[in-house]
């Protein structure tokens, strides 16, 4: 990847990360850690790999995205706003009564959201259904599926993975956001996942594991996956819950913190300020 393209993707990631923190600070609470860990994959998808048209969200030839870990909706909303699917001001309506941005994605409310998710595991199956339908239509569009590592506690994920592998679905790329933490603690302590790579390989997936916080690595893995025809595709994103803001990475419980004390508000505001600096710097570098 050329340096300019890399900087552009990093710029989009920085903006999305800033937007996530800013919108959750504005709201006073929200799913912080798991939104921040998927910022880079969102930036690579919407900055490069995922075919989309913000002016025509239902464009038939678009690629589809299913965010099965629906609680990370703020990361999706931020990238959709940055790409112009809707006005950035709308981000600050998150979880308002009657909002078009509910905490979990809703295909009937938000431009650019292809599938409703929130009950964990279900997005794996609906993504499989979407990809099945696209293949039947003869479309060359991809379906991207983002699953949480904690979410893999749900049996339905594995039902869907069986289905995807059985049908050798090469038009669907499964991302596992391996951020190593879930609501109650570390995934290894809650329900030991052992080895995701071995698991997915044994299910029949062509499986790669990459640094999920590195836009170059994520982009290369997607490009590599697309070269593999006739087999199911999985990319395990080695990520950090709360990634990109040291204070959030180190927070004891960063799944859905409340910004309800002067200290926590200041932590979040400092993060927004630092991310704004990062955005400014990257904008200068890209210019």
């Amino acid at each position: 990847m050329e340096e300019k393209e890399q900087k552009e993707l990093e710029l989009l990631a920085a903006k999305v990360r800033r937007d996530v923190v800013e919108m959750l600070l504005h709201r006073g609470y929200g799913h912080l850690g798991g939104s921040l860990s998927i910022v880079e994959v969102m930036a690579v998808l919407y900055g490069k790999q995922l075919k989309h048209d913000p002016k025509n969200p239902k464009w038939e030839d678009r690629d589809r995205l299913v965010l099965s870990k629906g609680h990370a909706g703020p990361a999706w909303y931020s990238v959709l706003a940055e790409r112009g699917f809707f006005d950035r001001d709308m981000l600050f309506t998150l979880n308002d009564g009657g909002t078009n941005l509910p905490s979990h994605p809703d295909r009937t409310k938000t431009p650019g959201v292809d599938m409703t998710t929130g009950s964990l595991g279900q997005g794996c199956s609906t993504a499989a259904g979407i990809a099945t339908a696209l293949a039947k239509k003869g479309s060359d569009a991809y379906t991207y599926l983002i699953v949480g590592d904690g979410e893999l506690n749900e049996g339905q994920c594995w039902e869907a993975f069986q289905y995807i592998a059985n049908y050798k679905m090469d038009n669907l790329i499964v991302f596992i956001d391996d951020n190593k933490r879930q609501l109650d603690g570390w995934t290894k302590d809650i329900m030991n996942p052992f080895d995701y790579v071995a698991k997915m390989q044994s299910f029949g997936f062509y499986t790669q594991k990459v640094n999920g916080q590195d836009v170059v690595a994520v982009d290369a893995a997607i490009t590599e996956a697309k070269q593999h025809k006739g087999e199911a595709l999985c990319i395990i994103l080695d990520t950090v819950k709360g990634a990109g803001v040291k204070a959030f990475e180190e927070m004891e419980s960063n799944h859905a913190p409340k910004f309800n004390t002067p200290e926590l508000k200041k932590t979040a505001q400092d993060a927004v300020d630092a991310l704004n600096e990062q955005v400014k710097k990257l904008e200068e570098e890209v210019a």
Binding site: V66, T116, Q122, C124, T126, G129, Q156, E159
Partner: protein, 319 residues
């Protein structure tokens, strides 16, 4: 318009074959109609579709939750999915998937829940569904049907294909007795008055409609005039018909191959109560029981769902 069958003792085609053959003709007209199966294609005969229309058949294996999600995902891309499994494995096992990936997400899933209630026969208690109607009724805007015979089942399947949303229809796999003449047409959300009567109103659905008609004939011989309604569309319920036909009756009985909690009886009771219809009333169905094995005939007697059981209930209310 519907016409009653000339010979009510005769059975129609196997309901599963009616479902699959109707789907084959729907697929011939619209390639977007697809059948999803959870490793029960030999039980439902959906393997007929796999043979005739392989591109319109999707084997999901024994994973009902995933099957509902795949159906919902295909619906979001413009397909019209039908799924089959035994009734309890739709309502009990995959409810959250039907509710969220299906209904809440504004996707379409058409569901054939087979062998409900005592029709389960040798598959026994684990496969018995006395609660599927209750569960599916709770989904906003879902439609819930119980097929009285083969003619009606064909109409239900054809109609569901044109109705976006959550459509659940329950019915036997094997043949049941005829209620309607070939060519009968029905109306969504409208019950059918099959027999007029002045003393008692019997409201039934599914295969018990035949038994309700038998009971009405027997009651007539005993000087009791019974009206019988086939309420095949349990949701949306034909409230107008319930209220108009309740007028002047000395008693009302609902009769269902289902638990009394949340089924047809509760649906009718709500209409009566909210409209201040004060008349002796009984929900004749399953009360606090699980299923068990046996032939369907034996189970029907064991669960007190025969025509003579219904007659006793009617007479008890009128006494």
């Amino acid at each position: 318009m519907f016409k009653l069958a000339e010979d009510r003792s005769a059975t129609g085609a196997d309901l599963r074959n009616v479902v699959m053959e109707t789907l084959q003709s729907l697929i011939a007209e619209n390639d977007k109609v697809v059948m999803l199966e959870a490793d029960l294609g030999g039980a439902s005969n959906s393997l007929k579709i796999k043979a005739s229309n392989p591109d319109n058949f999707i084997e999901c294996g024994i994973s009902e939750a995933n099957m509902m999600g795949v159906a919902a995902g295909m619906s979001s891309e413009g397909y019209i999915p039908f799924v089959h499994t035994f009734a309890p494995f739709i309502a009990r096992r995959a409810f959250d998937q039907v509710f969220l990936s299906g209904a809440y997400a504004h996707n379409t899933i058409n569901m054939y829940g087979s062998d409900p209630g005592f029709s389960v026969a040798a598959n026994g208690g684990t496969h018995t569904s006395f609660e599927d109607v209750a569960i599916m009724r709770t989904i906003p805007h879902a439609r819930v049907f119980d097929a009285a015979d083969a003619v009606q089942m064909a109409w239900i399947v054809k109609t569901c294909a044109g109705l976006p949303g959550i459509n659940y229809f329950r019915g036997d796999r094997k043949a049941i007795r005829n209620v309607y003449a070939e060519g009968s047409e029905f109306e969504l959300g409208k019950g059918n008055v099959l027999r007029e009567g002045s003393d008692v109103l019997i409201i039934s659905a599914g295969r018990l409609v035949s038994d309700a008609l038998d009971a009405a004939e027997n009651l007539e011989k005993q000087g009791i005039s019974a009206e019988v309604i086939d309420m095949f569309c349990i949701k949306p319920l034909d409230e107008e018909l319930v209220l108009s036909e309740a007028k002047g009756k000395k008693a009302i009985v609902t009769f269902e191959n289902h638990g009394v909690i949340g089924g047809l009886g509760d649906a009718v009771a709500s209409v009566l109560a909210e409209n201040a219809v004060a008349v002796p009333f009984k929900r004749h169905g399953i009360v606090e029981q699980f299923g068990q094995v046996g032939t369907a005939d034996w189970l029907q007697k064991e669960f007190k769902l025969t025509a003579s059981d219904l007659e006793e209930t009617v007479k008890g209310l009128l006494a």
